[in-house]
């Protein structure tokens, strides 16, 4: 962690202070998890679909280079201008140069976590280009000057009263109005003006098909389409892992995506973009931003299968209780915690530890990423690379030494002293985080080994 930066535990604690909010946040996401359960259980072949999706992605990751080139060739034939960006800076510069060419100072952007990763909005605003996020949740987050806290539900941590306040302050709605329908209508009217007047629109990409050179954007609000259809310059930003080989594979992913994300049978708008209309310019930027490095990390490459459905966040009890912003990374939750250390291991050294390794994420994931195993693996890497706190290193070394020798263990172990002194959660005083809100077990009169020696001495070491 960097000096002065709060880690996940501290940020989560601050979120948890408002217990009513946590209960509500937890309940809202659990409700979506249950919707996902119902939707997935209505499809008898659900587990086969997951397996198929996972295998398609295996193929993609093993042949990424070829599929990307195939996609580029086909997209170019279709009339899309394809760009390549190694990192955020390059990506942002490409977007800016496209806009500058046309002397465009205003852009509308639909949901794209990649551009959040690149901090595109800030970059453009610094250069005098105004950007408005058209996804309602992202729009609210933008008005409130906060990043999204969830990849599918960007402002799930905010209550409707707070959103009413934000609208009152920034859009001039009446004070105290918090009815979601009223607020949505107001936002829609406002965004309509934006769609009509903006000459450039940027969208994310959910899937890009190598064999046809087209790409698919999924939204529930139709906002990507509104922007794209009305603009004269259309830009799509896409992480290189979003490629799929064939159009036939889309059926697998579209069936999994919406059900996993929100429990819907399909996203309301799954729009295919293949070629520019008459008089329109269409650009697509293929962005690496750490992806090829992650591809080279054997234990973590599967994280690139992610289709960004958010199911692992909805199911993660740690995420639900601590809020997405506590992960201090664009992608929060379990998947974020395995993607982030690849980008900056030091800054994100805390995230793989922000989990109980309960394994719910891996089993809910529609592309079967072994998320919790990767969290375990990252912990090993982070410690090996020296990013664990020094006190922890010493404690663990002492523990290893004690446990390696039955004699030292049993000498120290009398009356539970070893455990009390060495298991960090077991010290009974007010400075210990265990004791703050939990009691210690009542110490037994004798430990099991002492009891056993007394009662079963005859067969304990009979051979």
């Amino acid at each position: 962690m960097e000096k002065g930066m709060k880690d996940h535990a501290a940020l989560a604690e601050a979120f948890i202070n408002d217990e009513e909010r946590v209960d509500w946040h937890d309940g809202a996401l659990w409700w979506i998890r249950q919707k996902r359960d119902i939707a997935s259980k209505q499809i008898p072949e659900w587990e086969d679909l997951r397996e198929t999706a996972s295998r398609i992605k295996n193929n993609v990751l093993s042949n990424l280079h070829d599929y990307l080139l195939q996609f580029e060739a086909n997209a170019t034939l279709n009339g899309i201008k394809v760009h390549w960006a190694a990192d955020a800076e390059e990506h942002n510069a490409i977007v800016y140069s496209i806009l500058k060419d046309k002397d465009i100072k205003q852009m509308v952007k639909s949901k794209s976590m990649l551009t959040e990763e690149c901090h595109l909005n800030e970059y453009l605003i610094e250069r005098g280009v105004d950007v408005i996020n058209s996804d309602l949740g992202e729009y609210i987050q933008q008005l409130d000057n906060e990043p999204p806290s969830h990849i599918v539900l960007p402002c799930i941590h905010k209550r409707k009263e707070e959103i009413g306040e934000i609208f009152h302050e920034h859009l001039g709605t009446e004070k105290g109005v918090s009815d979601p329908t009223t607020l949505t209508r107001f936002a829609r009217r406002h965004l309509r003006d934006v769609f009509i007047t903006r000459r450039a629109a940027l969208t994310g990409v959910n899937f890009a098909v190598a064999e046809t050179g087209e790409y698919v954007v999924c939204t529930n609000e139709g906002n990507a389409d509104m922007g794209a259809h009305l603009s004269e310059v259309q830009i799509a930003s896409m992480g290189i892992e979003k490629i799929i080989p064939q159009k036939a594979h889309l059926g697998v992913f579209l069936r999994l995506l919406a059900r996993s994300a929100t429990g819907q049978p399909i996203t309301i708008y799954s729009s295919h973009f293949k070629k520019p209309r008459e008089g329109q310019e269409m650009h697509l930027i293929l962005v690496d931003l750490g992806r090829s490095r992650q591809l080279g990390r054997v234990d973590f490459r599967d994280s690139l299968k992610c289709i960004k459905c958010g199911a692992c966040m909805n199911t993660c009890p740690v995420y639900r209780k601590s809020g997405g912003l506590s992960y201090h990374n664009t992608i929060a939750g379990p998947i974020g915690a395995i993607l982030a250390p690849n980008l900056d291991m030091k800054k994100h050294a805390d995230l793989p530890f922000a989990s109980t390794l309960c394994g719910s994420c891996s089993n809910v994931c529609p592309v079967k990423i072994n998320i919790h195993d990767q969290l375990y693996q990252w912990r090993q890497v982070i410690v090996r690379e020296g990013y664990a706190a020094n006190t922890k290193v010493l404690g663990m070394k002492a523990m290893a030494w004690t446990l390696s020798s039955p004699t030292s263990y049993s000498t120290l172990g009398k009356a539970g002293r070893w455990v009390l002194n060495n298991i960090p959660f077991a010290v009974n005083n007010k400075f210990n985080p265990w004791y703050k809100q939990r009691d210690m077990p009542d110490g037994p009169k004798e430990s099991f080994d002492v009891w056993y020696a007394k009662n079963n001495g005859h067969d304990s070491e009979k051979d």
Partner: protein, 245 residues
């Protein structure tokens, strides 16, 4: 068949009654059990904290203690899972391999190996099961709600043999309690909130006892129950299964 009894460090020190119940239960169903006295810990607290590289001596010691047994049984799903996944040996890899596939959590040993169908036990109380995540998703002791496949539960199968016992239905049958090893102190706020919410689920559905295959989860839940002066008690599943008629 001789079974080596593996009693994890914190069970040994804090919950001897669960270890005793495990031993008695195994004997009751006719198994010869031996407790090798030189055992310490499986190394899981270190490994899960990222220090797996410091666990070799724990592994060696485990081999030393348990390599002579046909089966190794422990009243802790979490420690069993750790041994199953991470026990390695530089000197005797074949033996480490054998141990990894012969180490069992108590409930799975009773259902899968011994195929116990009768327990002659009685526990006339309302009981809520806390599914330990390592038992549920690691050892697959029951069907998890995430998967779309047929339901089953080994702990329920055994608890159904206990006279007078009534299982309560929880709102969230398989959510994590928030213990998570060193997570419980490193992320104290989240851990406690998770534990509190698990306790509430049991309370509001009328449980008098919370049981589990993992004492670590129970220690955490018990700590919260106790602090809040709750009348609900945490009890290891071995103690229920070993209760007398």
């Amino acid at each position: 068949m001789t079974v080596g009894l593996f009693i994890p460090c914190y069970v040994n020190q804090f919950y001897p009654q669960a270890a005793i119940a495990t031993l008695q239960l195994l004997r009751k169903v006719g198994v010869e059990v031996v407790y090798p006295s030189k055992q310490t810990c499986c190394g899981q607290p270190m490994a899960n904290s990222g220090f797996e590289h410091l666990t070799q001596e724990c592994n060696d010691l485990f081999l030393e203690n348990f390599s002579r047994f046909d089966y190794i049984v422990a009243p802790s799903a979490s420690c069993v899972l750790h041994v199953k996944q991470h026990l390695h040996s530089a000197t005797d890899p074949a033996e480490a391999d054998r141990i990894r596939s012969n180490v069992y959590e108590l409930v799975e040993f009773l259902t899968d190996v011994l195929k116990v169908e009768n327990l002659r036990a009685r526990f006339p109380h309302k009981v809520g099961i806390h599914q330990s995540c390592h038992g549920l998703r690691g050892l697959y002791l029951a069907q998890m709600s995430e998967l779309n496949t047929l339901p089953f539960s080994k702990p329920v199968h055994l608890l159904n043999m206990v006279e007078g016992l009534e299982l309560v239905t929880l709102d969230r049958p398989d959510e994590c309690c928030g213990f998570g090893g060193t997570f419980c102190v490193a992320e104290e706020a989240v851990s406690v909130k998770m534990g509190k919410d698990r306790v509430t689920d049991h309370t509001k559905n009328g449980a008098e006892y919370i049981t589990s295959v993992d004492l670590s989860c129970l220690m955490h839940l018990e700590g919260i129950l106790h602090r809040n002066k709750s009348a609900i008690k945490a009890v290891h599943i071995a103690e229920i299964l070993n209760s007398t008629l």
